[in-house]
Symmetry: C2
Subunit: 213 residues, 2 copies
DNA sequence: CCCTTATCTGTATTGAGTATAAATATTGAT
DNA sequence: ATCAATATTTATACTCAATACAGATAAGGG
C-alpha cells in the first residue's frame, strides 16, 4: 500500500505515531475510552506525554484514525462521476461499489468487534462521531454545489447532503446492530444497502426538479 | 405561565438558578462561550462555584436552557394526532402551526441576536447542539415506532426520524442565515417552512408503503 | 564537523468536572 | 418555640485533557 519513506526522520516519526496508536487501541479496547488516560497511553507507548499530543491533538484522534481518506474519496467520486447520472444516484452507486468490492465497512465490524461498543460507552466518542458526520456532510454539500455550479452554501445542497449523511449514518448503525445480533455479514450488508437505497429514493424525491436529484 | 411556588425553599432555589442563568447569558453574549469561565459566572451571580454545577451539570446547560419542553411537545404531538394523517405530515403541520401561531423560532433570532454566532464560535456548543439534535431524533424515532406499534429500534422509524431532524436542522440554519442577511423575518419564515416542506416530501417518499409515511 | 530544522520531552498552567464533607437554611412535627 | 430531618449552598481537594513554552535530542544538508 504505502511506500517505505526514504529518510530516517520520517520513518521514526511514523514509527512513534504507530506505537502510540497501537498502545491506545489496545488500552481503549481493554478498558474503554474514558477509563484510559493520556498519561497511560504515553507510558504504554514508551513516549513522553507531549509527544502524544504532538501526533494526536485530541485524545479522540487516537480512536478515529482514518478520516481524511474517506473525505477525499467522496470528493473525488463527485468530481469524476458521469454527468448523465445524478449526484445522489452517483453516491448510492458508490456505496454499493464499496460494499461489493472492498467490503471494508462490514469487515471492519469484524476486525475490531468492540469498536461500536467503545463508542456507545463514551459520550466523548459519540460527540466526535457526530462531528465527523457533520464534517462529511459539509464535504458532500460542497461537492454537490460545485458540481451544480451553485453557491457553496446553497440551501438545497445543504439539505441533500444532510439527508444523505443521516441516511448513511442510520444504515451503518442498523447494519452493525444486525451483524451483532446474528454475526451474519451478508445480512448486515443487505440491510446497509437497503437503507441507503431507501434514503436515496427519499432524497431524490425531495430534490425533484433541482440539479441535485 | 408558571405558578409562583408555595414554599420558600423552591422559590429561593429557582431564584439562584435564574441569577446564574442571567449572569451566564450576559457573559456569554459579551465575551463568547469559551472565553467565560465557570468561576467568573459564579462570581457574577454571587454564588459559590459548586452551586453553579449543582444547577447546571455542564457549562453548556447554561446556554441551552429549554430542552425538555421541546422534547415533551414533540412526544405529545405524535401521541395526540389524528390517526388519519401520517406522522410525517403531522409533524410538518406542527412546524407550520408553531411558526404561524407562536413565531417562537424566529422571534428568538431577534431576542438574542448573537445566539447563533455564539454557537458558531464554540466547538463545545456546536457539539452540544448536535447532541441535542440526536436526542430529539431519538424522541421522534420512539414516538413514530410507538404510534405504528413497532419495536423502539425499528430501522424505518430511525431513518424517518433522522431524516426529519436533518431537515429541521438545515431549515433552521438557512432561515437564520436569511434573517441575518436582510433582517426580513417573513422571508426567514418562508425559507424555514419551504425547506421543511421539501424535506417532508422526501421523507414521505422514502417511507412509502410503511406506516411512517 | 557545523548549521539548521524537525522531533521529542519536561514543567507549569488553565479550566471543566467530580468527590466529599461541612455549614446553612427550610420544613414539618412535637 | 424547639428539634429532627432534609434540601441547598459552599469550600477544599482532586483528576484529567489541553495549551504554552522552553530546552534537549536527533537528523539532514552542506
Amino acid at each position: 500500500m504505502s511506500i517505505v519513506p526514504i529518510d530516517r526522520r520520517t520513518r521514526k516519526r511514523l514509527a512513534t505515531r504507530q506505537a502510540i496508536s497501537d498502545a491506545a487501541a489496545r488500552l481503549f479496547d481493554a478498558h474503554g475510552f474514558d477509563r484510559v488516560t493520556v498519561d497511560e497511553i504515553a507510558e504504554a507507548a514508551d513516549v513522553g506525554r507531549m509527544t502524544v499530543f504532538n501526533h494526536f491533538p485530541r485524545k479522540e484522534d487516537m480512536f478515529f484514525d482514518l478520516d481524511d481518506a474517506a473525505r477525499e474519496q467522496v470528493r473525488a467520486v463527485l468530481r469524476q462521476s458521469d454527468p448523465e447520472i445524478g449526484p445522489i444516484e452517483t453516491l448510492r452507486l458508490f456505496a454499493h461499489q464499496v460494499v461489493a468490492e472492498q467490503r471494508d465497512y462490514v469487515r471492519f465490524f469484524d476486525a475490531s468487534p468492540r469498536f461500536m461498543q467503545t463508542i456507545a460507552e463514551s459520550e466523548t466518542l459519540k460527540a466526535r462521531a457526530r462531528a465527523i458526520r457533520d464534517e462529511l456532510a459539509a464535504v458532500v454539500q460542497e461537492g454537490l454545489a460545485e458540481r451544480a455550479g451553485q453557491d457553496r452554501s446553497d440551501a438545497d445542497a445543504q439539505l441533500a447532503a444532510n439527508l444523505l449523511l443521516a441516511t448513511w449514518g442510520v444504515a451503518f448503525v442498523q447494519a452493525y446492530q444486525t451483524f451483532e445480533r446474528n454475526r451474519d455479514e451478508a445480512e448486515a450488508q443487505r440491510i446497509l444497502l437497503a437503507l441507503i437505497d431507501q434514503g436515496s429514493i427519499g432524497i431524490k424525491a425531495a430534490m425533484a426538479g433541482s440539479p441535485y436529484a
